[in-house]
Structure formats: structure tokens, C-alpha cells
Subunit: 110 residues, 2 copies
């Protein structure tokens, strides 16, 4: 159980974000990431499956269930509690990074 990923890549972030609402299978994650980013994020399949393996190993996602639809297998992944925490922390980091350039710093945490 890897507690904290110091650095999260963009692909990893959007994969976790795509899973926040409900478990999805690989192809569904790619499409949802594209939708959520207004088409800006296009996850390559090579990126996705490698990242899913790493996320599973890190305990941020787990294999939810497997289905077979029309002979094609569907493997659904689910985000874990650790994954939710991680993706929210990353969202805060992204927002703070954006503010460095945007100008409204107004740090209130510490």
C-alpha cells in the first residue's frame, strides 16, 4: 500500500478523475477523460494500460468486475479511498500552481 505519490502525471490524474463518478472499463476511461477535458486530453491506449497497472499496484484503483459483452471482454476499474484522496490533493496542487501565474495567490492554508 503506497501511501502518497509525490508526483502524479497528467494521464494518471485524468484516469482517476474519470473514475470518480462510477467504475469504468479502459475504453470508457479514455472517452470520459476526453469528455471531461473538452477534448483536450486524448489518452493513448499504451498510456492507459500502463498507468492502470501502476495505479492498481499503488492501491489507488482496483479491478471492480469483468463482463463479457458480445464476446468482447470489459474490465471495470474502481477508484479506492486512497485514490480519491490522491486525486483531490492533486487538484489542489494544480490550482495552486495555476495561481502562481494567474496572480491571485492568497495562500490561506500554510
Amino acid at each position: 500500500m503506497v501511501s502518497s505519490m509525490t508526483k502524479m502525471t497528467e494521464a494518471t490524474y485524468f484516469i482517476l478523475a474519470a473514475l470518480l463518478e462510477a467504475p469504468l472499463h479502459g475504453y470508457g476511461i479514455i472517452k470520459r477523460a476526453g469528455d471531461q477535458s473538452a477534448g483536450r486530453v486524448k489518452l493513448a491506449v499504451g498510456t492507459l494500460y500502463g498507468a492502470l497497472d501502476r495505479l492498481t499496484e499503488a492501491g489507488l484503483v482496483v479491478l471492480d468486475r469483468e463482463e463479457v459483452v458480445d464476446g468482447r471482454p470489459r474490465r471495470y476499474y474502481r477508484i479506492t479511498e486512497d485514490g480519491v484522496v490522491a486525486v483531490r490533493q492533486e487538484a489542489v496542487r494544480l490550482q495552486q500552481a495555476a495561481r502562481v501565474v494567474t496572480g491571485q495567490i492568497a495562500v490561506m492554508g500554510a
Copy 2:
């Protein structure tokens, strides 16, 4: 003259952000990036000089001037207009990415 970098790395982003106010030399960039991010970003020297070379080649920064202080050379880098545009675009992207998780989507552009 590389018009648009589709993808900007975090190190690149903080280097450009550090140069927004005034030209700085390498070591100054490292310190300023650390300050601006409240100590979260620690640029390694190997990262810095490689990134500066790439940014220079891309036309986002230029060598401003060279000074010699106490026998130690100081090489100041300056952000270009293209660099300013690029880092501001990236800030918007980061903010939008953060909002995917934060929840307040409210997309207004298109």
C-alpha cells in the same frame, strides 16, 4: 520558432513562471520556483539546464545577458512574448484540470 507546445511539463511551467517578473540566472530560477510554490517545487539542476536548453530552442526564453560576479559566471535568462503566452495558456489548462475534480465546471468558452 516553435509556435505551440502541446504539452508542457511541470518543471517547464515553473521555470517560465519564475521568469515572469524579471530575468534570472539558473540558480535564481531554482530558488524562485521554490519560493513561489511554498517549497513544494524543488528543481534539480539536471532538470533545469536541460529544460532551459529546450525552452531556448523553442523560443520561449532567450539568453538575456552574462555577468561575472566574484569570478563566478551568471547567465541570465529572459522569457519571450511567446513564453508569456505559453505559460498563461498552461495556467488556464491547469485551472480547468483542477476544476474537473473540484466540481465547479462551469465551462464558458466552448
